[in-house]
Assembly symmetry: C2
Homo-oligomer: 265 residues x 2
């Protein structure tokens, strides 16, 4: 057993969709979350900049002696996970691999849509990994830069969020995809919009579920689960305005959280 906390980070509030799955699947674990809300979105920033940010964040999380780190951000996973893994003496997982296995299990017509930030889409990592598993898969990708901004403003469930989602997924629908991968953890916050826009024959793949499963497997396998009857206490840190983060946390979890502001730069 290992009663230390799990470090989770994202460019902002998007990683809370992963936290939500961890709460469900591993309710006894404690989380330290860092949301880089001041410097969000990561999706179209230079790679070197994002890599510098992720190193700062990992150093911050390590200062709490976390037992494992979850990069709850596709962009940061793609750009930094390999290098971080080499440097770290604790396990670290991202959100990309889970999306791939879920998408392959979901599609029936082998036409998969990927929506993500500009970096994620440009990297073509989902396309490469999907085709490696099954070269008959057709992948249609769409960068959706506004969806992170809208989610960070807490405006997903408004007409703004609806029309932005519609604008971005229309071309994928026209291409006949039967599966759309949310390759950005923020996009889960637009779930209601996708449900309204998409025919029920099109399935949404949310990597958060599989990521929490992967986390659970690793902790179980390495005998690192938290084993105590005391109620878990989670901590939330942000680089931007605390109240904005807490407000969105409230919308997602229907309960309060007191986020603390830290300056990592």
């Amino acid at each position: 057993m290992d009663n230390r906390k799990i470090g989770v980070f994202d460019s902002g509030v998007g990683g809370l969709t992963v936290v939500s799955e961890i709460y469900k699947q591993l309710p006894n674990e404690e989380i330290i979350y860092f949301g880089d809300t001041e410097r969000s979105p990561y999706g179209s920033k230079p790679k070197e900049t994002i890599h510098m940010y992720t190193k700062q964040i990992v150093k911050f999380l390590k200062s709490f002696d976390v037992k494992m780190i979850v990069i709850a951000c596709n962009t940061a996973t793609i750009i930094s996970i390999e290098e971080l893994r080499e440097e770290l003496d604790i396990p670290i997982i991202g959100v990309v691999q889970g999306a791939i296995s879920m998408a392959l299990l979901t599609t029936k017509n082998n036409k998969i849509g990927i929506i993500g930030t500009e970096h994620t889409i440009k990297s073509e990592i989902h396309e490469t990994l999907l085709k490696k598993e099954n070269d008959k898969i057709d992948v249609f990708s769409k960068a959706c830069p506004l969806l992170v901004n809208i989610a960070e403003e807490g405006l997903s469930d408004t007409d703004i969020g609806f029309y932005a989602c519609k604008h971005y997924v229309d071309s994928l629908v026209q291409n006949g995809v039967d599966t759309i991968v949310l390759a950005c953890t923020h996009y889960k916050l637009h779930e209601n919009n996708f449900k309204k826009i998409l025919d029920c024959s099109i399935k949404i793949v949310d990597p958060a579920i599989k990521t929490a499963e992967n986390l659970s497997e690793i902790l179980t396998e390495k005998n690192m689960l938290r084993c105590t009857h005391s109620k878990p206490i989670h901590e939330f840190y942000v680089s931007g305005v605390e109240s904005k983060f807490s407000e969105i946390y409230g919308l997602i979890f229907n309960e309060n959280c007191k986020a603390k502001k830290v300056d990592l730069s």
Copy 2:
């Protein structure tokens, strides 16, 4: 006479609304424009960061031996103009003062709405300057963080732009303003939306017009107007994707521009 170019900069494409007015009012002048599209939006970044950016940009523009600099960005004007003015040996103007004089001339019921980025609204500079001129003025302010992002994506004239504008100005309308100041140069790109949303009794103040007038006055007064019959040649530089900038330029001016990418950092 002074045949050197005028340096104009903004966090992205918003400053093109000021360029548009310079084209109209000073058609013989030549412009060097820098749009910091890679690092846009400035509106909620730390002040020190924005100040560092503006210094880099002014150094870049000075390398072309410009005769004058126009900060076509409210956020950058508010944060940096005083310090830049002290350091520079050429005139520099911003976009705030023009907005104030136009708003005072426009309002009839003394209720003025200000829309801008988070920094601009938090600075309360428009409120302070308006009340200094007339303490009977009521000012209602609203930060509209998404409007820059939407304009930078070239999506102003879509349902996304419409509903975002509606979301932000509704409370000002309820407060009974008869004048709304576009305290961010990007917002002019949403002009069609505001026209659809607002009753014709509410007037929009676009500081770009007055800014170009101020520029014209200074150049005339200091005998620095360009005096040659050769057709002016403008140059456009960006820190982000050139094609995205050129596309939006095309939408505004209905003609092509070849933007060049530079890395100032």
